[in-house]
Amino acid sequence: MTNANDYKWRRDKDGMGVWEHRGKVAIVGQGHSPVDRRWDGVSMDKTLGAYSMLACQKAMDEAGVTADQIDGVICCDSHIAGPSGGSASKWAPRPYFAPPYDSEWGLTLVNAQWLIKNMGLKNVKFAPTGLPTISEMVGMAAQAVGDGLCTTCLMIYPCGNLEGRYRRGGENADDYAKGARQWTVPWGNHGGNDFINIFPHEQYCRKYGGQHDDLAPFVINQHKNGMLTPWGFNATHGIDPITVDDYVNSRFILRPLRIWDCDRPVQTSTALLFTTADRAKDMKQKPVYVLNHNQYNFKKRSTQESLDEIELWTDTAAKRMYEGAGLQPKDVDIFNPYDGYSIMTQFYLEAFQWHGVKRGDALKFYAGDISVKGPHPFSSSGGNLGTGRTRSAMYTDSIEQLRGTAGARQVTVRAETALAAFTTPSNGGWIMLGKHPS
């Protein structure tokens, strides 16, 4: 099978111009599995593999595509729960089950090969390995279809979670930071944005004014939007919407980061179906066209990012995206940035200047009307904070908004273009979608 590293699909440089396949690739199907808090270790119809197959089937059914038509499978084959997640991300040393659950594959990991075998996808000719997260996979799928490596491509993002301390197992559970870790992760974990973004967030408040708890309206709105997202964890589990009092009295995870600033790890899988614009015309769903995709992995000066760096990186990401899509900030109707930690979202909002928000304006913007029925329906998906740590709500909401099928979340403003991402300021990617191919 093709290794992802062998295929030069990334758009990760400045000055690449308008994407050569702009409007020639479309998303025609999407599927969400149920969103559980964790796998219970018993229900074989709720494993990560079973949920991934279900998500694929939903995406195919939505588009009216059969298994024999699938010729591309792009599936993230790593742990969202982290390689050092311990029991939260690895089933072993517990005994495995009967095939196809006789290894970690299907339980805590899913890849294209496992899906091809267990879904009977006999005509797949493009199924790379060593794949990144959904932020980059959507770009890879779009590029692969545009380049003709495949014509009808499933992209799958499995998010697993078992019992145990999420990302706090393995070396992170050790009482000692051994070797190089004494310099890089002396607190046991430095990989999450919980730590990395705290410092620049506080720099942000000092530079532009405001305080951490000014994020409350944004976080509360994410929860509201999440309750309008029928498949999400919050909606399917009756999670109470939170109030300002709930927010400002909540426990600090890492001061000033509060528990409601953090997303909730879940067990779920999402699939998107990409095809050519020509093929999309004959499928069941109204196509949503890909207008551009970009990626980046900016070099850090140290283990600690600064506000200056983050503003430079996010400005660069926005510039690349607008250039590749041939659009400007005023052209973007739906804006679904990442919110895995609420403290980073303002950096994206200001960089992309959605609805005219400039550097230092985000907290004031949050205090206005950002509801889905208002004039500035910011993050209409509810993001991770409103649906669970799926990292996919931003994409599927964007698709539904452009189709006009977002139901109670459907915005009342124009919905012809959408920007969506799962990304950190330094690493990830964006995708621009359009209701029309040009």
Binding site: R37, R38, D40, E163, R165, G209, G210, Q211, D213, D214, A216, H237, D240, I242, T243, V244, D245, D246, V248, N249, S250, R251, F252, I259, L363, K364, A367, G368
Partner: protein
Amino acid sequence: MEVGLHRAAPILTIPLPLKGREANIKGDTSLAKLISFDIDGTLETGDPPGRITMVMVRQVQALGYIIGSCSDRTVSHQKRMWQQHGIEVAFTVLKHRLDEVKAQYAAEHYVHIGDTNMDKYHAELHGFTYYFPDNSIDHLWEPI
């Protein structure tokens, strides 16, 4: 637009005037024991469900313990949970607010039962005896 939010007063459920409870308000010399229950991973109503059933909660309350919940679940959720099960509790607080329980109730012994290291951390920080919800807590259900 002006930014900044007013910080609300600390949340602590005002104890209902239940029979026998007033005797345990600080200042009285008659001391009971107090148990604080985490919810997720501890009570059967949690996510994941824990080992402690609502029947067990009623039993320990009948033994004379002052009981309540201490969780990251919102206070409104905690109150609703207890109401749905018809159990009147003395307190419903957020996980980092155990100190307020101790300030409000004089007890011979303060116990917090929860399944995470955060339960242990906050319990020990505020002078509660911490128990993981396994068979190490069975002795609490013996008559006091």
